[in-house]
């Protein structure tokens, strides 16, 4: 196991951090108040190459290895204060681009990937439904083949990027008798007949990342837009979740590093009872715990990246990484507020925002409870 970074990887991460600090953070608090998506930031990221990070050069991507992807997301999480923008980018890459890149036909890759990598098309996926969340494969949306088309009917809920997306990968049932193996995936463009998006949903955090409901009413999807074979839905979903649980949560790790630096700085500058509050063990021990979480999270995350780089599967390890990082981010966000006291609780200082953003991480990409189920299952329970 070798987690050391090459000079190129380290340099690229450094460049990402500088780019994020310089270009992506200004106005983040104001955008959050207005719940505005940062269109300029999206374009700047695309120009930098972020949206095409893991996509082959042939399709205008950077063709980066997974460890570079992880380091890039970590650097963005560290340098960018607009976590909604990062969430939108991560959804776009791991739940739309990667599945098309891995499972798509040459025609599908040629048609969609270059525009997705350039950021001129925005993507996402639509899996969750009003009545199926953690029990994802019990979805009710149907796809019935009629000639050279599929007719999709159903409703999708909590769809990341839906209000701004040009295309979504929609999961639908093509053969109910096969359970999870009867789920198929379709590349659905926003202009296809019968496709509509409801109003953006208001959220507790990640407010600059638009989320919405999608309605498919006799939605006509050309046969050529089925991604993979009929019944490949579970394989596609598992593959994209493994990527997302590895790379998306790297941005949380970066945010935790930035959070730690803020807390150390504040604990040195803030005086109470005649000395810096960092000299009180009740504060310094919280900060020590934050550091420990970061170190453990890094090791788990880099292990997953290393395994995937070796061509190994990492369903157990990515579940552990996702669970640990998401719960650590919440714990460290609570600590950061407590350390900053009243200032931490006020929205204008941006400390409490991390907590609101972090809680979503325990829910999306499989809840903490589902990650524990996966881990227990691998232990034979």
């Amino acid at each position: 196991m070798d987690f050391s970074f090459t000079k190129e990887q380290a340099r690229f991460k450094e460049a990402v951090v500088k780019f994020a600090q310089r270009e992506l953070s200004n106005g983040a608090l104001e955008r959050e108040r207005k719940e505005e998506f940062y269109w300029d930031g999206w374009k700047k990221c695309a120009d930098f190459g972020i949206q095409g990070l893991p996509i082959p050069v042939k399709y205008d991507g950077l063709g980066a290895d997974i460890l570079t992807c992880v380091l890039t997301m970590q650097g963005l999480g560290y340098g960018c204060r607009d976590s909604g923008l990062l969430f939108a980018i991560n959804s776009h890459i791991w739940t739309c681009e990667i599945p098309i890149s891995v499972f798509g036909t040459d025609a599908q890759k040629g048609k969609y990937l270059p525009s997705l990598t350039k950021g001129t098309l925005i993507g996402g996926h639509a899996m969750t439904e009003p009545d199926s969340g953690s029990d994802a494969f019990s979805l009710r949306t149907t796809a019935v083949r009629k000639g050279d088309k599929y007719i999709l009917n159903g409703t999708k809920m909590f769809v990341s990027n839906a209000p701004i997306a040009d295309l979504l990968l929609v999961f639908a049932c093509t053969d109910k008798s096969k359970g999870f193996a009867g789920i198929s995936v379709f590349i659905v463009e926003k202009d296809f007949p019968g496709f509509s998006v409801g109003r953006p949903l208001e959220k507790m955090g990640l407010k600059t990342s638009p989320t919405g409901e999608v309605v498919l009413q006799d939605c006509e999807v050309p046969l050529d837009n089925r991604l993979g074979e009929e019944g490949a839905g579970a394989a596609i979903f598992n593959a994209e979740m493994e990527w997302e649980r590895s790379c998306l949560f790297a941005s949380h790790l970066g945010a935790m590093e930035s959070q730690l630096e803020s807390c150390v700085r504040y604990a040195k500058q803030r005086f109470q009872f005649g000395k810096p509050i960092g000299k009180f063990q009740s504060i310094s021990k919280k900060i020590a715990d934050m550091k420990v979480r970061i170190e453990i999270a890094s090791l788990i995350l880099y292990k997953v990246a290393w395994m995937k780089a070796q061509g190994k599967r990492a369903p157990l390890e990515s579940a552990i990484a996702k669970l640990y990082i998401s719960e650590s981010y919440v714990a460290s966000s609570l600590d950061a507020i407590q350390i900053h006291g009243g200032y931490g609780y006020m929205t204008e200082f941006g400390i409490e925002r991390d907590l609101r953003d972090s809680i979503a991480g325990k829910i999306y990409s499989g809840t903490s409870e589902i990650q524990r189920n996966i881990i227990a299952s691998w232990l034979g329970l």
């Binding site: 891995v102 008798s177 598992n238």
Partner: protein
Amino acid sequence: MQAIPVLKQFIKDELVPNLDDLDENQSLLEGGILDSLRIMKLVTFIETKFDMQITDEELVPDNFETLISVSKLISNKHEIV
């Protein structure tokens, strides 16, 4: 190595301990013997036991419908190697 007895034993020992019997033509999917978690455990087992790599694109129902189809996937991949 005969794949079917090895696969059958793994399924009975590790995936569905209370399974009475498992016919090689029995559907692993329609009967719920494989679910989205168990199939990943089965794939990891196959990759280790038979020293091969199964791609994400090969994780389709046709390859996991019955013990015979899983066995065919394994033997086809060995031939390719």
